[in-house]
């Protein structure tokens, strides 16, 4: 017997076409629109935007200077849009996410069929609806500037594209910062970071646009022939940033009690495909010898960034994950680096870096004798790899001393930069206290990645190379027991599943 049978019938429900249409839309979006209609921020923002465009239009139409005016109108319109898109829209998303978290409402949502993914997408959609609304409010102004021949259509299109990308990225960032506030200790940091980051971005954008630099830059970009490569690069960077925000928010919403980083790990492995793919499609072949090495080293640095999170997780699989490992023996072993846990995190990072090393080995451009060429980048890359292995391993070990909880993992993430800082500063202090000044590099500074790299990669590479390669091999071999332990846990869980 369902409730419908139990309860007495109420008034006959209506069912309009609009209601049927709204079935197709993300429920979060429907609700946000309903709330916005009743709320205050939204009508005020619309009023202000309208007022601004009326003011600009009347000021401009009182003067008669043709082309200059057109550009002025365009800049003024964009400068009005910037705070709306970079501050109001993300801040709205931030606040609505915060409301969601207050008193654990979000848990009520997660009990429904809305996963964290759809919650976040709903929020982003709501932000994009606002984007469209604000842009259409200022559209008459932009059209006027075009009619006054101040700007051409490509400039308007490119500007709106950048505005869209910036708005989306900022909103995703805002939502993920708000989601992190689910951990009370991070709330203050999230609030501050949000207001500060968005404020600075907005001010910067308004000044750049109002000063006219922005329009000139876009003009130069369109004329330079680098437009496609720039647009795709911006899109790629925004995609990476939005995906990271999304994954972060999702992991905070879903797993406040367990580390569950598989999404990040899969994304890390997807990055080379995206980045090298972009290079092959959009970058002219003539530039590959420059672009390829920097992309590879950039990916390696990204890997270390992800690594910091992966190697500070709880060691064991949570019961929930343990019940969902792949059932096949081989597939479970292969999937092991993608499953949470710090031993497997070490394995994932090392495998990723070795993969980059192999790609580099196969396709690295010939640098010849030029000291600034690809050879130098290769040496820097090797040094980064070695230091990455060292510090991640040290961080993993230190994290092992902390409790096996999520706060323990978070503390572990803080410990690592502190360790790096100490390894850099302590030898410098010792030098300073002993000799009164900091002189030449010596072995005491070997844990200082920056100085040592600068010191080693140029004319001393002949001496440094065996040390770096030796360190790489030693640090890799030292991890083998971890890998065995990490993979073993997964295959055992898989065997247990098969037995049932």
């Amino acid at each position: 017997m369902t409730l419908v049978d139990v309860s007495e019938r109420g008034s006959p429900p209506r069912h309009s076409f609009g209601a049927r249409l709204s079935d197709l839309v993300n429920p979060i979006l429907v609700r946000e629109v309903q709330q916005a209609v009743k709320g205050r921020v939204f009508p005020w923002a619309i009023l202000l935007a309208l007022a601004a465009s009326v003011v600009i239009a009347s000021v401009v139409s009182s003067e008669e200077r043709g082309v200059v005016n057109g550009r002025g109108v365009f800049s003024a319109g964009l400068a009005t849009l910037a705070p709306l898109l970079l501050f109001v829209v993300p801040m709205q998303a931030y606040n609505s996410m915060r409301t969601e978290l207050r008193g654990g409402i979000v848990e009520q949502l997660l009990m429904t069929r809305l996963g964290p993914g759809r919650v976040l997408i709903g929020k982003l959609q709501a932000a994009m609806v606002q984007f469209l609304l604000y842009v259409s409010l200022l559209a008459p102004l932009l059209a006027t500037s075009y009619l006054l021949r101040g700007v051409d259509l490509p400039t308007i299109a490119v500007s709106l594209f950048f505005a869209f990308v910036a708005c989306l990225t900022a909103t995703a960032f805002a939502i993920s910062s708000a989601a992190q506030a689910i951990v009370p200790a991070l709330q203050a940091i999230a609030n501050l970071g949000m207001a500060f980051g968005l404020g600075v971005a907005t001010l910067g954008a308004v000044f750049a646009i109002a000063g006219g630099d922005y329009t000139q830059l876009i003009g130069a970009l369109i004329r330079s022939g680098q437009l496609t490569v720039t647009l795709t690069a911006v899109t790629l960077a925004a995609t990476v940033s939005v995906t990271l925000s999304w994954l972060t928010a999702r992991s905070y919403l879903l797993h406040t009690f367990e580390d569950k980083s598989s999404g990040f790990r899969v994304f890390l492995w997807a990055l080379p495909v995206l980045v090298y793919g972009w290079m092959c499609v959009f970058v002219e072949r003539a530039y590959w010898s420059e672009v390829f090495p920097s992309l590879t080293v950039g990916l390696l640095l990204m890997g270390i960034g992800f690594g910091v999170f992966m190697v500070t997780e709880q060691r064991a699989l949570s019961p929930r994950v343990r019940h969902h490992v792949p059932k096949g023996g081989l597939t479970s072993a292969l999937a092991a680096p993608l499953l949470p846990g710090r031993d497997r995190g070490m394995l994932c990072f090392t495998a990723f870096a070795l993969f980059l090393l192999a790609v580099g080995w196969s396709f690295w451009p010939q640098g010849g004798l030029d000291e600034r060429g690809p050879d130098l980048v290769a040496r820097v890359g090797l040094m980064i790899f070695a230091y990455g292995l060292f510090y991640l391993n040290a961080g993993r070990w230190l994290r092992g001393l902390l409790p096996e909880t999520v706060p323990g993992s978070q503390a572990g993430r803080v410990v690592m930069p502190v360790l790096l800082f100490a390894c850099i500063v302590v030898p410098l202090l010792v030098d300073g206290l002993r000799g009164g000044y900091v002189g030449e590099w010596h072995w005491g500074h070997v844990l200082n990645p920056f100085w040592t790299t600068v010191h080693a990669v140029s004319d001393r590479w002949v001496d440094a190379q065996p040390v770096v390669l030796g360190a790489l091999v030693a640090l890799s071999i030292a991890q083998v027991p971890l890998w065995i332990r990490g993979v073993g846990e997964v295959t055992r869980a898989s065997t247990a599943l098969r037995r049932r």
Partner: protein
């Protein structure tokens, strides 16, 4: 037939605190089970794990045979969880609030609108549909919270202290709603500090303390069990009689420690009503000036006090 809710050897620690340790109990469809324990006993923790919102260190919870660890998504569809806090969204009216959650539960078109209306009517919200959700009284707010919990027609309701903070009238109305739900076949696990409340509607109770089960079972059984060891209070006319009666009682096999306070005696007694009648007859025959000889009826509150001994974490 498998039980609707099975809690199996559940354990959860927060750092050094053992919030729940090795907890086991079961409940069936159409049953209302009271979940009782002092503050910090681990009720909320247990309920959150059962509602898939927390992960245990050990053990499992099965809802209708589905493990909340292995298939949390499937389990969620069978659970209505009403947490101990309720914060509706600002700038939404009651109808929109329910409609939003109905959408979130995947209800579509006519079915959604019908469900929202019938649930709202069932919970007595029919005439409040256009009120702002944040402006309701505590009692109406709890009804809205319950209505939201019922939208997807879950088989199991997990209610965390739903009646706390309600005035007596609202509490009685809320209790009637729950009784109707149980009559419609839903299993209800309800935690509360308002123990006499639970006694009137629960079929069974689970008492926990410091995360461990103290007693569990049908209310009648637990009451009988509790009555097996009961405290008897007696009053005599003179202090000399009290001391003489203390010596007399101390020799009886079913009587535990006897405490004397002036003319009043308190003693623990293990035995059934016939045994107790025998003790009373013996005392009267011995000629003590008895003016009072009584036993506290073991209602839920007594079970609670007796079993948890008032130790708070």
């Amino acid at each position: 037939m498998t039980a609707l809710l099975q809690v199996k050897n559940l354990s959860r620690r927060y750092g050094k605190v053992r919030a729940v340790s090795d907890l086991c109990f079961e409940m069936g469809c159409g049953q209302i089970t009271g979940f009782v324990g002092p503050n910090g006993a681990g009720k909320t923790t247990t309920m959150r794990i059962a509602a898939t919102l927390d992960v245990p260190d050990g053990g499992d919870v099965l809802v209708d045979g589905t493990s909340v660890l292995v298939e949390p998504r499937l389990a969620r569809m069978r659970i209505g969880y009403m947490s101990d806090q309720f914060h509706p969204y600002p700038n939404l009216d009651v109808m929109q609030f329910l409609d939003f959650f109905a959408r979130a539960y995947g209800l579509r078109s006519r079915r959604r609108i019908e469900t929202v209306h019938s649930v709202a009517n069932f919970c007595g919200l029919g005439s409040f549909l256009d009120r702002p959700a944040t402006g309701l009284s505590k009692g109406m707010g709890q009804r809205l919270h319950l209505a939201k919990t019922l939208l997807h027609d879950p088989a199991l309701l997990i209610l965390d202290e739903p009646a706390s903070g309600l005035d007596p009238r609202a509490r009685i109305e809320f209790r009637d709603l729950l009784k109707r739900l149980a009559a419609a076949g839903k299993g209800i696990l309800i935690s509360s500090h308002i123990l006499p409340e639970l006694g009137e509607m629960c079929d069974s109770v689970v008492v926990i303390e410091k995360g461990e089960r103290v007693v569990a079972g049908a209310i009648g059984d637990v009451q009988r069990e509790a009555q097996l060891e009961q405290t008897i209070v007696a009053k005599v006319t003179r202090e000399a009689d009290a001391e003489a009666m203390q010596r007399h009682l101390a020799e009886l096999p079913m009587v535990g420690d006897v405490a004397v306070d002036g003319v009043q005696l308190r003693f623990a007694f293990v035995g059934d009503d016939d045994d107790l009648a025998g003790v009373l007859a013996g005392c009267v025959a011995a000629g003590y000036g008895l003016v009072e000889f009584s036993r506290d009826a073991a209602d839920l509150e007594d079970i609670f006090l007796k079993t948890t001994k008032g130790r708070l974490q």
